[in-house]
């Protein structure tokens, strides 16, 4: 069975990066009805361009419209739906019962995916949505492997599960903590993540209910075996670097499974790569046991910053044999780095020279967004990325790329 790797795209650039790095489909928010009201989200023009880009690659775009509607949200809802459908989307991810029914009756060409916001946890509930016209359900993130398998076997409906990213503490759709603490309605896209806040409990003891992240990279085989159709990565507001790394890694895992080359060593390497872009610890959460104290945090803040992402390749200068990149974090000559590409190639090397746009040689790169050039012998495509590594981080067995330096002037 062909499975789908589904990636989050907060904007057009993220959409392209995800698809280039191996996602089969992306989910995006439009100008209305998305549960990430404060993400960049897509204008109609961007949506059209994104759909065209995806379709050229034989891939798909799903639009989220999974808020809990209030009456004022219904104003011009029909026009909005007509407009986004005409942009070329392949499916809508929805939670509202009326909207599911409406789409089924008016847009039979559009797939209806029932959102995880509905926290579907059993087969009868799944069959209810199937009868309503759903072509796919996104299961609650709280289910075990066995519970997921039972639902698939009993319903024969396409099932999508989250495999990676942040978790909510409560069932999706059954939480209004954000409304009560910050007056921001989580069920209309305003979630302020109160479940990551700190609380005072007995005897001045701090109480937190924040969860560690989800990471099912070592469980892909089992999930494919039980019939999961789509593997969803969380994080429409995540960085390009994060998405490129996570999507590229899961692409390798799924492809290795498909070609019969998936083994423990590859899974282990994947874990290491994923850990490097994560800003929290991760676990398998509910998949093999009921989530317990090891799947949560008990301190105030849990995030750690990550500055290993050094730059994004925007071009390659064939004549000078240099990659042109946009800097993201500080680096300097002598740093050990890796360049990785959308097709999954990884090139470890040492930075020996750095040039600015005028061709001046620099000792250090210290201005994010500055355009720089680094000597590099192999042509690589745009959207390749460079990250800092320590020797223990090297992710493949190839020898380090030897950089032959030449005196050139401009980028």
């Amino acid at each position: 069975m062909k499975v789908e790797l589904l990636a989050p795209a907060g904007d057009l650039e993220r959409l392209k990066v995800n698809l280039l790095y191996g996602a089969d489909a992306v989910y995006v928010g439009g100008e209305r009805f998305s549960l990430r009201a404060n993400a960049t989200n897509f204008t109609d023009e961007e949506l059209k361009e994104g759909c065209a880009f995806a379709h050229r690659l034989g891939k798909k775009v799903y639009l989220t419209a999974n808020i809990v509607f209030h009456d004022e949200d219904r104003i011009e809802m029909e026009q909005y739906i007509a407009k986004v459908v005409s942009c070329g989307i392949d499916a809508m991810i929805v939670s509202d019962l009326y909207l599911i029914d409406y789409l089924h009756k008016h847009y039979p060409q559009i797939e209806i995916h029932v959102s995880t916001q509905n926290s579907i946890t059993n087969q009868e509930e799944t069959l209810f949505y199937k009868e309503l016209g759903a072509s796919r359900i996104v299961l609650a993130r709280e289910l075990s492997l066995q519970e997921i398998e039972e639902i698939i076997q009993a319903t024969h409906l396409e099932v999508e599960v989250f495999i990676h990213g942040a978790m909510c503490t409560c069932y999706s759709g059954r939480c209004a903590l954000s409304s009560y603490v910050t007056n921001r309605d989580p069920n209309r896209g305003g979630c302020s993540q109160v479940c990551r806040f700190s609380f005072e409990a007995l005897e001045k003891q701090k109480f937190t209910m924040a969860t560690k992240d989800l990471n099912l990279s070592t469980s892909i085989q089992e999930l494919i075996r039980i019939g999961v159709k789509s593997f969803k990565v969380e994080g429409r507001m995540r960085s390009l670097y994060y998405l490129a790394t996570v999507i590229g890694t899961y692409r390798k895992i799924i492809d290795a499974f498909t070609f019969g080359t998936l083994d423990k060593a590859l899974e282990q390497k994947a874990q290491e790569v994923l850990a490097r872009v994560s800003n929290r610890e991760s676990t398998t959460q509910y998949l093999f046991h009921e989530a317990d104290e090891k799947d949560q945090y008990y301190t105030g803040r849990q995030e750690i910053s990550n500055q290993e992402y050094l730059g994004q390749v925007i071009d390659y200068n064939q004549a000078q044999k240099r990659v042109i990149l946009k800097e993201r974090n500080y680096f300097k000559r002598g740093d050990q780095v890796e360049l990785f590409t959308p097709s999954g190639d990884v090139y470890p090397f040492e930075i020996q020279e750095i040039y600015d746009e005028k061709g001046n040689q620099l000792e250090v790169a210290r201005h994010p967004e500055q355009v720089l050039a680094l000597p590099f012998p192999i042509p690589v495509p745009a959207y390749s990325m460079i990250r800092k590594v320590t020797p223990s981080h090297f992710t493949n067995d190839t020898k380090k790329i030897k950089i032959e330096t030449r005196k050139e002037d401009t980028v």
């Binding site: 509607f69 009456d71 019962l97 009868e124 059954r174 921001r184 309605d185 949560q296």
Partner: protein, 283 residues
Amino acid sequence: MKLLVQTNQENLGTYIVHGADGFLLPLAHFSADYDGSYSLDAILNLRKQYPKTRLFVVMNEMLLNRDLKEVEAILKTLDVHQIDGILFYDWAIYRLHQKNHCQVPLFFHQTHMLTNRMSVEFLKEKGITGGVLANEITLSEVEAITKTSFQFFQLLIGYPPAGYSRRKLLSNFYKSLGKEKKKDLLVHEDSTQMPFFLHETEKGTSLLYGKRLNATYFYEALEQCNITYGIIKQEDLEEKTVLQILDIYKKEKENAIRTEKIGNLLGRNTGFFARKTVFKVKK
């Protein structure tokens, strides 16, 4: 508006004498966010004991496959014992109700979801008799939603549910401290000092907002909206306080006086009736 009390007492007579029109009975193991619950046998006994009183069974737990057989059997039992209705969260209950041709009325009780008129129309098409309005909508939204024939329930007095998790948040917390587990905990959010009650069962953890809603100020307006049932949750109130509240609602004709008297007993948190939530904070 009929007044429904949710208590954990089995002697309902006193409440009826003081004007309770009916009761919400959370079913043990299959309800969440309510203080206390009743076994199926206890509910059937109450039905026999109070044949003329409205008794609604709450089954708003998230259901797993392993629950479905038992839930189906319970539905069939409730159906033949003339329960006045079942308040459900999970659409599995609707499917099992249909499959078994049950006649007991169903009421939609997805905690934060009943927020708009078109959803009500959808529910009516499905044969659902009524539903519990979300607590996070304004009075003007209530007015717009209720302009249709449907039996609406509205929380009048009680701690509003704010979240429900499958996680055993208290077991996990106490385990992390190396302390003996308790099933209830009051916490305050650090910066706002907003209080929340946590209550853990074998199925998960409820989080209730720790400032009791008192919607009495809006009682007349809600009556004009044809709210069918107002809910009074006893929770940590003494029985005599609940009886006092019932007396005030039933006997006091002036809303201002009602508001004043109940406000003195319970405080004056009017929730979101006059306070609209936001969701877009960036342009």
